[in-house]
Amino acid sequence: MVEQMVEDELLVEPVRTTEPVSPMSAKTSRVIVEMRDIVKTFPGVKALTNVHLTLHSGEVLGLLGENGAGKSTLMNVLGGVFKPDSGTIRIDGEEVQFNGVLDSQSKGIAFVHQELALEPFLTVAENVFIGRELKNGVGFVSQREMVAQSKQYLDMVGLEVSPNQLVNSLSMGQQQMIEIAKALSLNAKVIVLDEPTSSLSEKEVEDLFRVVRKLKAQGMGIIYISHKMSEIFDLTDNVMIMRDGTYINTVVTSATDEDELVRMMVGRDVENYYCRVFNTPGETALSVKNYVCNPWRKPVDFEVRRGEVLGFYGLIGSGRSELLESIMGFRDGGSGEVYVFGEQVSDKTDPIRMHGLGLALVPEDRKTEGLFLFNDIRFNSSIASLHEFISKLRVNNHKETQIAQHAVDSLNIKVPSLESKVGNLSGGNQQKVVLGKWLATNPKILILDEPTRGIDVGAKAEIYRIINSLASDGVAVIMISSELNEVMNMSDRMAVMRGGEISAVLERDEFNQDKILKYALG
């Protein structure tokens, strides 16, 4: 692993320009944020080495880099979460020292974190104003005022939930929108969006972009981190590229193309992005009939065969995760007929039984559902396949290391060693660890819930390649995704969900963006 990192570094000598180019679209704009020579080290990891960043008012600056390149760390420095080891930050030309999140907020910086950070037991309105609760004349918190004002921000992002609802009852996508509404409510000068669309689908992304463009027009500076190239080209004025904690370059978006960006980011060309060889599917692996997750939902039917990829597309909250988690037995209250390789599984399924039958589900929320953040890579990647190396009071350490090392190698996980704590990895690398854990179990039916959430382009191609080879080996794959391109390119067939129901199951030759969106939106 370590050697590999060194190798990557040698491939291309990064083009280092000391002076980042200024956005050509905003000649009159002023510099709001200037970060220079930022250095940040964690025990054993140099996360940032002399990184610069310049942001103008009215600019949308894309921040691009592989998983673990240091994007979030740089933003955490700007957001007052981490203190840099050295380097300077200027806001509106004035040098600042942040001693915490509040300092940064008070300088007009709003931050939507990569990992959701909402209060589960507070209402939507309370979450929007957390830390800055509105007061009434007596000095007490004014619930009414907060509800009224938050409504305004929810409308802005186009989210239809009641401000009085508890956040723990919302889906991930909805929560992400709330984070954005919360950032908007700060009325900041700068807004940092760290992978805000990782669990949003097209419609919400559009809503978000509308908002971002409006803010930009108002002269706000926006830093936008994403691994989705289409978004970068859609939205940003300039793109700054980072690799291995160093600053590589800043380019004008309209003057570059995807290949160039990828090359700067990864240090090599990435070919065959969606590599999928379609074979004739085999026997039916999983068949679901008359299934309801909740008594108030209409029943759904679908099946997936060996060697095919069944895509699940839908808007956020359309119930994709809910359906498949319920079938796997992770949620109570589901009922209906489930057949695995023709054999009926009793109505009330339980996850251990399903795993035994060769099913595996890579969950959507890596932090809470996927990872043991305080344990190391070795532990995390082997926990689902213990029977392979522990039996009768004997632990085959060699085999265990092999499993972990295989995950690291095959998914190109960037880690100092197998003993690194998973909680310290970058978001994308964490996602790979979760994937590795399930691949190690050699499942016959693999359910992937947003498998490329937060994964960089290079690794995405890697994951697509793995999906393809699994399918070729006769594994039945179900892939839930909010990225239309991904589902369209990777699936044999696609189930579109809307309001908890499957509104259509489309064959590959029927794939058509408008048609799919029509079924998704209703």
């Binding site: 999140v101 931050f111 037991f121 507070l122 309370e126």
Partner: protein, 334 residues
């Protein structure tokens, strides 16, 4: 249960009825348990509903109530406060000694007794906030320290003082209502204001619900923690002083295991040990239930050994019902 809840939803829009309806809805599970217990005892325990017994019951729950307020706050942060029982003893001893040994005037002595609680509470809070040691461990160790200090200060035996005004503090009445009951009600009202009307209250919910999010939201996490344990210490000391007044003496042995009843009351009242969830009204009902178990079983002539068994069973059943009712709203991370 569906239907009742819906009716309550409608009622919420009517002004005064509304807030009552809200309280009832939030406490549905535990209220049913409370009512069952109430009706049962009213029928089977002679004199249970007599004014004399009600006064007696309310006075006897007041100590636990005051402790439960502090303990509840600590539990809302997914922590705990095990020091409070020992602090009851220490503060009582200190207050009494201040008068009997050092001849301080009553107000100064009271201040002293209460101040010791504040100091211990602050110490708890600071250690918890700055070292990251789990509150269970910190407050457990502090319990041992406070108990030892109480014994040392008192020389191992109860210390007494004769002071009318001091005695009145715990034994007096305001009209027909014992003073400790008044204290309890006032403190519950303050708790209500804190949790529902202040920023700090929101921050307590936030910190308990998701510490990372709280940090990212710019909440001063350290201050909230220190505040909570300091208040809990302060309240325990206040309860201790009142208790000492009721007995005209400071007993180094008093308060043993009081934290247990306070925790039980908080948890029965819907405070979640996973943090982030708690209601003032719930804790009040929890305190009443714990008090009624002991009072009621005594009135029913139940053997004290059986009381242990019955109390254990009631706690589990009560918490279970509260959780069932609030399913989905309460974390069952466990």
């Amino acid at each position: 249960m569906k239907i009742q809840t819906k009716v309550l939803d409608r009622l919420e829009d009517i002004p005064v009825v509304g807030s009552v309806a809200k309280v009832v809805k939030a406490n549905m599970g535990i209220l049913i348990g409370f009512l069952v217990l109430l009706v049962f005892l009213s029928i089977f325990a002679e004199n249970f509903l007599s004014w004399a017994n009600i006064v007696n019951l309310m006075r006897s729950v007041s100590t636990n109530a005051i402790l439960a307020i502090g303990v509840m706050l600590s539990i809302m942060l997914a922590g705990i406060d095990l020091t409070c029982g020992a602090l009851v003893a220490l503060s009582g001893v200190v207050a009494v000694l201040s008068m009997s040994q050092f001849g301080m005037p009553l107000p100064v002595a009271l201040l002293f007794g209460i101040a010791i609680g504040l100091v211990v509470g602050l110490l708890n809070g600071v250690i918890i906030a700055y070292t990251g040691i789990h509150p269970f461990v910190v407050t457990l160790a502090m319990q041992s320290i406070c108990r030892g200090a109480a014994y040392l200060a008192a020389g191992g035996k109860p210390v007494t003082v004769r002071n009318e005004a001091f005695t009145a503090l715990g034994n007096g009445y305001l009209g027909p209502i014992p003073l400790p009951v008044i204290y309890m009600l006032v403190l519950f009202f303050l708790l209500y204001l804190l949790l529902n009307k202040t920023r700090l209250g929101r921050h307590i919910y936030a910190l308990g619900g998701n510490p990372t999010a709280a940090k990212y939201s710019g909440i001063n996490v350290t201050r909230v923690k220190v505040f909570v344990w300091a208040v809990s210490g302060l309240l325990a000391a206040f309860a201790g002083v009142v208790l000492a007044s009721r007995m005209s003496s400071g007993q180094p042995t008093s308060g043993v295991g009081y934290e247990t009843d306070a925790i039980a009351a908080a948890v029965i009242g819907g405070t979640s040990m996973y943090g982030g969830v708690g209601r003032t009204s719930g804790v009040f009902i929890g305190v009443l239930i714990i008090g009624m178990i002991s009072n009621g079983l005594n009135l029913l002539h139940v053997n004290s050994f059986w009381q242990y068994v019955i109390k254990g069973i009631i706690i589990i059943v009560a918490v279970y019902f509260d959780m069932r009712k609030n399913k989905g709203n309460v974390r069952t991370g466990f």
